[in-house]
């Protein structure tokens, strides 16, 4: 359980970090180290260089204006869990953050690390897919923006180039006016330390929360650990959009999710069980999001 030897670098600015990532062969960024260290301890990863980005305060921000919410890559799970700004603007983020491991892990783990790991069971990848987040990537050569949809390619395989660093994400606020929107993140999980068997991020916007039968203008569902990428299920969303929430609509959304997933079988969860979880938790997430939108 000891990692292979590596050289350690601790740059104090983003520019210096990007130079190091550009110049050093086989270098990995080191942030919260709550996943990378496990890979390295088990010798599943043995980078020659670690570029410690923990001193890059410029990547530690949570900002919301009228148009979008921006969160820096170095923001810790614990900070996201407790962010008043996010609780108000995009409450699914704090809820998802609070369901990552326990508080000791959340003290260190970062948004960028979780996204960069590209684990389809991860909480933030699922939320990013549901909310159509954009990821900001920087390298010594410049920066670019990639949608969550394009970023996650396969299990632990993303669009990030080796010399690039995730610097943050932005989420458009337009689809999620707090007064008419409900969001939730649900996880089926045995213990804090284990991966979820399945998780789901859900969001619902209604036309008028005061109305007796408010119409669902926009619905979002994404599932984690249900395919080799965080899986948005537009078909399920379409089943309930454009009308008031109904049992029939929820049932159809659940069935769509059951068919859409492509889950890996696990020791305590065979494929059928995970499909059934996808069906049930899609319904639960949409119901909870709806109830919060009209509350």
């Amino acid at each position: 359980m000891k990692p292979a030897p590596f050289e350690y670098h601790r740059p104090s600015s983003l520019a210096d970090a990007l130079e190091l990532l550009a110049d050093l062969p086989d270098a990995e960024p080191l942030a919260g180290n709550q996943s990378l260290s496990i890979l390295m301890s088990n010798r599943l990863a043995s980078p020659d260089h670690l570029v410690d980005i923990n001193d890059l305060d410029e990547l530690s921000y949570v900002e919301a204006d009228n148009g979008s919410v921006a969160v820096g890559a170095l923001v810790r799970h614990r900070e996201i869990e407790r962010s008043g700004t996010l609780a108000q603007a995009l409450p699914v983020f704090p809820e998802a953050a609070g369901k990552i491991a326990g508080p000791v892990v959340r003290n260190r783990g970062t948004l960028g690390g979780s996204l960069g790991e590209g684990d389809p069971a991860g909480n933030y990848p699922c939320v990013a897919a549901a909310l159509e987040a954009d990821l900001e990537l920087a390298s010594a050569g410049g920066s670019r923006t990639v949608s969550a949809d394009e970023f996650f390619i396969a299990t632990m395989f993303t669009d990030r180039e080796e010399d690039e660093l995730i610097t943050g994400i932005t989420v458009p606020r337009d689809p999620f006016p707090p007064a008419r929107t409900g969001q939730t993140f649900l996880a089926v999980k045995e213990a804090a330390q284990t991966w979820p068997t399945l998780s789901v991020a859900g969001a619902v916007r209604v036309d008028d929360p005061e109305d007796e039968e408010p119409v669902l203008e926009d619905a979002r569902v994404a599932l984690a650990n249900a395919a080799e990428v965080p899986l948005r299920v537009p078909g399920a969303e379409g089943e309930i959009e454009g009308e008031p929430l109904s049992e029939a609509g929820l049932a159809a959304a659940g069935e769509t999710a059951y068919e859409a997933v492509n889950p890996e079988e696990e020791l305590h969860a065979d494929e059928t069980y995970k499909r059934e979880l996808a069906r049930e938790y899609t319904k639960r997430a949409l119901t909870t999001a709806h109830d919060r939108a009209v509350a």
Binding site: M1, K2, P3, A4, P5, F6, E7, Y8, R10, L30, N33, Q34, S37, I38, S41, N42, L50, D52, N54, R78, A101, G102, P103, V104, V105, N107, R108, A191, A192, Q193
Partner: protein, 168 residues
């Protein structure tokens, strides 16, 4: 306090200076040396338990840079210029800290291997939430595994510790 690591390794090392339990320590370490191994083996702080070495068990939990962290998921080089606190710093003049007293009184340990991690996590919880609900206690200790007690006595001990600290 200083540590002589001469001959420990022929691989490249880096010099670090860390404040451990209030004392400045300078040492030459390999970058891949985990903070947990640095504390336990190099500095002989035996309350730092090396269990799973991959962030699951919580036995190596210490205070790092103002928050609790699993020291097997930090490299000692990362602690350069920073502060680390271990259970050794809890007791004063041979007297148990109120949290340690509470764990003793409530039989919150059997083999004791996990106890240091629970003490540090409890200390962190009570520092910011002096009167936690049972559910909050369970959440705060979710990163720590105990294979003996079944946790109930540990949760009781945290409640007792909260009462003791409140009475101080």
């Amino acid at each position: 306090m200083s540590v002589d690591d001469t001959g420990r390794s022929e691989r490249p090392t880096q010099e670090i200076t860390v404040t451990v339990n209030g004392e400045s320590v300078t040492a030459e370490v390999e970058p891949r040396l985990k903070l947990s191994d640095f504390l336990r083996s190099h500095l002989e702080l035996r309350t730092v338990r090396v269990g799973c070495e991959q962030g699951v068990c919580g036995a190596c939990t210490v205070e790092f840079d103002g928050t609790v962290a699993k020291s097997c998921m930090l490299y000692a080089v990362q602690a350069d210029g920073r502060e680390v606190t271990t259970v050794e710093a809890l007791s004063e003049d041979g007297n148990l800290h109120p949290i340690q007293e509470a764990f003793h009184e409530e039989h919150a340990l059997q083999c004791g291997f996990c106890t240091s991690g629970f003490l540090m996590a409890t200390r962190d919880l009570l520092a910011e939430n002096p009167d936690p609900e049972r559910e909050e206690i369970e959440g705060a200790l979710a990163d720590n595994i105990c294979r003996c007690t079944g946790y109930q006595n540990i949760y009781d001990a945290v409640e007792t510790a909260a009462d003791k600290l409140e009475g101080e």
